[in-house]
């Protein structure tokens, strides 16, 4: 028997502290999706209407540079979430998202999630806190990446 989306969310680290009633609410905005390698989940500048949980596979966050083509910024793997632009105005993707290895995803309708969050501030706050944690983690990792420290010093 196919698992319900809310049950699948129980296996996801991102939703680990969400009460079951909220998982049921959020699950109503989600559906399973499989995307083949080399297809795009998002293009920079497009309306950000989706939010993804990557169950299996690997995706690349890329940007396009004139004269250089696609530049790989980072990769995301199983268990990670894809996209926060659906929650932050003006709700547009900031980067391209390309599938590197066939991706098994839970795709959420960002508009549906926002509506439920607005109607239920407690859920909205919890969701915001978790997304902020992801953004903070990525900001911290990006700073480390920018410092480019691995090569300095020695043993």
């Amino acid at each position: 028997m196919m698992k319900k989306i809310s049950d699948l969310l129980n296996d996801c680290v991102f939703f680990s502290h969400f009460p079951q009633e909220y998982l049921n609410l959020i699950g109503g905005c989600g559906k399973n999706r499989v995307v083949k390698a080399d297809q795009y989940l998002a293009h920079e500048g497009d309306a950000a209407q989706a939010f993804y949980v990557l169950k299996k596979g690997r995706v690349a966050i890329e940007t396009h540079m004139q004269g250089h083509g696609a530049l790989l910024v980072e990769t995301l793997g199983a268990g990670e979430i894809i996209g926060w632009s659906w929650l932050v105005e003006p709700f547009k993707w900031k980067f391209d998202v390309r599938v590197l290895e066939q991706a098994h995803l839970i795709e959420f309708d960002g508009g549906c999630l926002r509506k439920k969050a607005e109607n239920n501030p407690e859920l909205g706050y919890l969701l915001m806190k978790k997304i902020a944690l992801v953004i903070a983690g990525r900001l911290s990792a990006t700073r480390l990446q920018l410092i480019d420290i691995y090569g300095k010093g020695g043993h």
Binding site: L72, V73, G151, G153, H155
Partner: protein, 276 residues
């Protein structure tokens, strides 16, 4: 037989040189006196003396079960190590050691081991991988998270597939890569939140630039790992290696003799002190 005087270098001969990356190389050393003992524990270091130039502390990157030679992996960053890079087989070096507190493999028994390395920080952790593979039944899983600037800066690449075949869970992340790279792109810290780990039965060993270790502490503590279960290998200006000279003093500790491996709870109050 070990030298009776810990401050007196003993002559060793290079028997093999391997270029790991553009600025990292590995040398294998045997003593001129075949009676010389070469026992060491994973995480310890030797003082290598380039005659007429100077002496540097270098972690041992070889297998502690094979006590017929010392293996050192070195980045050419200063006067001494740049001179060492141009040495060839049969060249001589002076060697004192081994020194320092090793990785706590005894505390890792029956636990899952997580190694987190940045750049050449994989060198002092490689002996832990060898020790684990030689005694797998005594430990749980071994997971290695390794970060480097780019694919061409990865050390010990040739061993990766063998380690994976033998059951090591190896994840490699680089800061920047072209389309041919099939691994992760991003900081090594990003691999921590989704690690499959049970904080109560895990032990973490971290080695890399100190700034990387600072960034790694938060996500590890966030996953419920206790400070006492995180071990870091510290680096300072070590000169005598036996706690006499004071060059490597770090608060109340001497990195050379009280470390270089410390549990994080011993350092957490001083880790962000800029004076240290």
């Amino acid at each position: 037989m070990k030298s009776k005087n810990s401050l007196l270098p003993v002559p060793y001969r290079i028997v093999k040189c391997t270029q790991e990356t553009s600025d990292v190389f590995t040398i294998e050393l045997v003593p001129e006196d075949s009676q010389q003992s070469m026992e060491f524990s994973p995480g310890q270091f030797n003082m290598l003396y380039q005659f007429g130039v100077g002496e540097v502390p270098i972690s041992i990157s070889g297998d502690s079960a094979k006590a017929d030679r010392y293996i050192h992996t070195i980045r050419a960053v200063g006067t001494v190590t740049r001179r060492m890079k141009i040495l060839t087989e049969k060249s001589q070096l002076g060697l004192r050691g081994p020194f320092g507190v090793p990785w706590p493999l005894d505390k890792a028994l029956e636990k899952d081991i997580f190694l987190i390395a940045g750049g050449i920080g994989l060198a002092p952790l490689r002996p832990v991988i060898y020790a684990y593979l030689a005694n797998k039944s005594r430990y749980g899983r071994l997971s290695v998270l390794y970060g480097a600037r780019s694919p061409k800066d990865l050390v010990f690449k040739k061993e990766f597939s063998q380690w994976r075949k033998l059951g090591v869970e190896l994840s490699v992340a680089v800061d920047a890569a072209g389309p041919s790279w099939k691994g992760h792109v991003g900081a090594v810290t990003k691999l921590i939140p989704n690690l499959d780990l049970d904080p109560k039965k895990s032990l973490v060993m971290v080695c890399g630039p100190e700034i990387m270790m600072r960034f790694i502490a938060d996500p590890l503590l966030g996953r419920g790992i206790a400070e006492r279960d995180i071990y870091v290998s510290m680096e300072r200006n070590m000169q005598c290696a036996v706690g006499f000279c004071g060059h490597c003093q770090y608060g109340g500790e001497f990195i050379c003799k009280d470390g270089p491996v410390f549990s994080f709870d011993r350092l957490s109050s001083t880790f962000l002190r800029r004076e240290f």
